[in-house]
């Protein structure tokens, strides 16, 4: 009796490629409906932000008085939907300073995305540094860092951000700094937990035994393990950062007029909600869609990359 051994059609190189961690993760992400929906909306928003000057019919701060025969806070006018042809077309209407609301909403995408990425980028950078130092070195340094993080977490985040802005002074830059600071503890905790979970593992000991310096071990062997939970937390964090920054601007503590920031737009026109509701509706809708996109993407990434974070 002879045994016939059949060779698998894939050679080892193809096998390695098809099973690479990246491909597996991507496959898992693609299967997450919420990640796909969130990612698609986000891609759309990024394109809007990049091509804002081409999409927006006017400069966001361009005052139309003297250029068009149009009133302040005029209702949306779309010729295709029956708005008289003799009336200038402003698809989301005009605001109290007779500026095109659509152009301002479109340009607002740039600012909101910038706020999200900047604050979370800053928080991830500082949080990673603190969390990795604490987790890697342990002892009193870890204790000190984590107690400071506990104190920062003891404040409701928006409230602490408000207090910081109250001290530093109003303005977008200070608002970004405040939101960045209040976001640090979350990332510090995530990184510390990852560092603690892998620092005693064999591949780390092997790297040390091979003469790897502490910095090499930390940055090349340990920290890469913290990247997946950081990506998930960062995506969800951007949503919170955008929401908080818009809230600060709404209160007049963040971006200042005439900046085309959604929270500022809402804040300056909030008293007109009964007479010109479109001035409140569209900037708020833009905030909600952007935050929803990041939340959906973050949820999907979490389920695909690190389901342990769910609870």
């Amino acid at each position: 009796m002879t045994t016939k051994i059949e060779l698998l059609p894939n050679d080892s190189a193809t096998d390695y490629r098809t099973n690479s961690l990246f491909r597996l993760t991507m496959r898992r992400i693609v299967r997450q409906r919420s990640a796909i929906i969130g990612g698609t909306i986000l891609l759309f928003l990024v394109l809007v932000a990049i091509f804002a000057p081409a999409i927006a019919p006017f400069d966001p701060n361009f005052v139309l008085i003297g250029h068009e025969d149009i009133k302040r806070r005029s209702d949306p006018c779309i010729h295709l939907l029956g708005c008289p042809e003799d009336q200038p077309q402003h698809i989301l209407g005009t605001d109290g300073n007779v500026r095109d609301v659509f152009s301002r909403v479109v340009f607002g995408t740039r600012i909101s995305l910038m706020i999200g990425f900047t604050t979370v980028g800053f928080a991830i950078l500082v949080g990673t540094l603190l969390g990795s130092l604490g987790g890697f070195l342990g002892g009193w340094i870890d204790n000190l860092i984590m107690r400071i993080m506990d104190v920062l977490l003891a404040f409701p985040s928006l409230l602490l951000a408000i207090a910081i802005v109250a001290v530093l002074g109003h303005g977008l830059q200070n608002a970004l700094l405040a939101i960045g600071i209040v976001s640090i503890p979350v990332y510090a905790r995530v990184v510390r937990a990852s560092v603690l979970s892998v620092k005693e593992q064999e591949f780390v000991s092997a790297s040390r035994a091979l003469g790897g310096s502490p910095m090499h071990v930390l940055f090349r062997r340990i920290l890469p393990n913290a990247i997946p939970p950081l990506i998930v937390q960062g995506t969800l964090g951007i949503a919170t950062a955008i929401l908080d920054a818009a809230a600060l601007s709404f209160l007049g503590l963040g971006a200042q007029p005439p900046t085309a920031e959604w929270g500022t737009m809402l804040g300056t026109e909030r008293n007109q909600v009964f007479t010109a509701p479109h001035l409140v509706f569209y900037p708020g809708l833009a905030i909600m869609i952007t935050v929803l996109a990041f939340n959906l993407l973050g949820d999907g990434l979490r389920d695909a990359i690190d389901p342990r974070l769910k609870n």
Partner: protein, 359 residues
């Protein structure tokens, strides 16, 4: 059990100390001259000298910190620059409004969020589940002030002249007044006394006050005024609670003991409520505790929109007017309150989870 409680209480002490340190540093981190930041650029050198002396800003930092701690522990948060009144007094006047609003919002969030989460988990992957999750994801992404403004527009303007009309601002209609219950019952308490202040605190919660004093007209009016801000404020906590309940229920429903309970022939409703829900409750309670922070922060926005004279609106006004004693005092109280609520939540685990009791 006692050990767990003591450990948890001891753990809160350094956090509260840290909060006091952070707020102390914050008030000293004002860029430039703190006197000019608070009193305005035109404040003269003499005025600033007197201000610094009165506020203790001319003393070394460790001495300032010692005085600050001593004052805080004796309930002295200093005087408001704008109102020239003790911050503690203002806080006591404003806090009941925020507590009432926050409590109603939290009750709403729990009463709707938990059943929604349970139903979504039990009917997983059905239209109900998808609907609840879409609503929850939208709710968690919604700016509270935007929703508040839209609700005000809808219920105060669009639904005007219908039975669904609701007032867009204020706590009580003009012409009505919520007379404190101790005055209604003529208890003869001297104004300004300790007991007066204590009772006034509760009387400022209008719902509580009108129920105790049996003033049903005021009760109806107050509830009407509370609906919109409470709904706006509850949206994010409601969405978070619903999501967490669903996720926790799904986790529990996969367990072997649920299969065993079903195999025993128990009614499905009994399995869900008695076996699954009770075990799924722990993470939900943690999340509810954390929502207190969201409610306090949301109160700043909601009270500003709906013209509620609570802590949140006061804090906003104080920031705008650079009234730092109020900002500092209010921040301390809210943060310590947040820690205290989460401590209570942690201690409540002892009654919910027998494993902690036996630990």
């Amino acid at each position: 059990m006692t050990q767990y409680a003591i450990r948890r209480i001891l753990y809160s002490i350094p956090v509260i100390f840290g909060i006091l340190v952070v707020t102390f540093i914050m008030a000293r981190a004002i860029p430039g001259d703190p006197c000019k930041a608070m009193l305005g650029e035109k404040a003269s050198a003499e005025v600033c000298e007197r201000f610094n002396r009165e506020q203790g800003l001319d003393k070394p930092i460790p001495v300032q910190f010692g005085v600050y701690m001593k004052n805080i522990f004796s309930g002295d948060f200093g005087d408001s620059i704008r109102y020239s009144r003790p911050v503690a007094k203002i806080l006591l006047e404003r806090l009941p409004t925020t507590i009432e609003l926050g409590l109603i919002a939290l009750i709403l969030a729990i009463m709707v969020g938990i059943p929604a989460g349970v139903i979504a988990a039990v009917r997983r992957n059905t239209a109900v589940d998808v609907g609840v999750m879409i609503a929850a994801n939208t709710g968690v992404s919604m700016p509270v002030y935007w929703l508040g403004l839209l609700l005000a527009y809808l219920f105060a303007l669009v639904l005007k002249d219908t039975p669904f009309w609701l007032p867009p601002s204020g706590r009580i209609s003009a012409g009505l007044s919520a007379t404190p219950f101790f005055e209604v019952f003529q208890w003869g308490i001297v104004e300004g006394s300790g007991i007066y202040n204590f009772l006034e605190f509760f009387a400022n919660m209008y719902i509580f006050n009108s129920i105790i004093s049996g003033n049903w007209e005021v009760l109806g009016d107050v509830i009407k005024h509370l609906i919109l801000p409470a709904v706006a404020l509850s949206t994010i906590p409601l969405a978070i609670i619903a999501r967490m309940t669903r996720s926790s229920m799904l986790e529990v429903l996969r367990q072997d003991y649920i299969r065993t309970a079903r195999a025993k022939g128990l009614f499905e409703r009994f399995v869900i409520l008695k076996h699954a829900f009770r075990n799924a409750l722990l993470p939900v309670i943690t999340i509810i505790g954390l929502q207190v922070g969201t409610l306090f922060a949301g109160a700043v926005l909601t009270e500003t929109i709906f013209g509620f004279a609570g802590v949140g609106r006061m804090l906003f006004e104080a920031i705008t007017a650079r009234d730092f004693p109020i900002v500092q005092g209010f921040t301390v109280v809210i943060a310590v309150g947040y820690v205290a609520v989460n401590l209570l939540v942690d201690l409540s685990y002892v009654f919910i989870d027998p494993r902690i009791r036996l630990d």
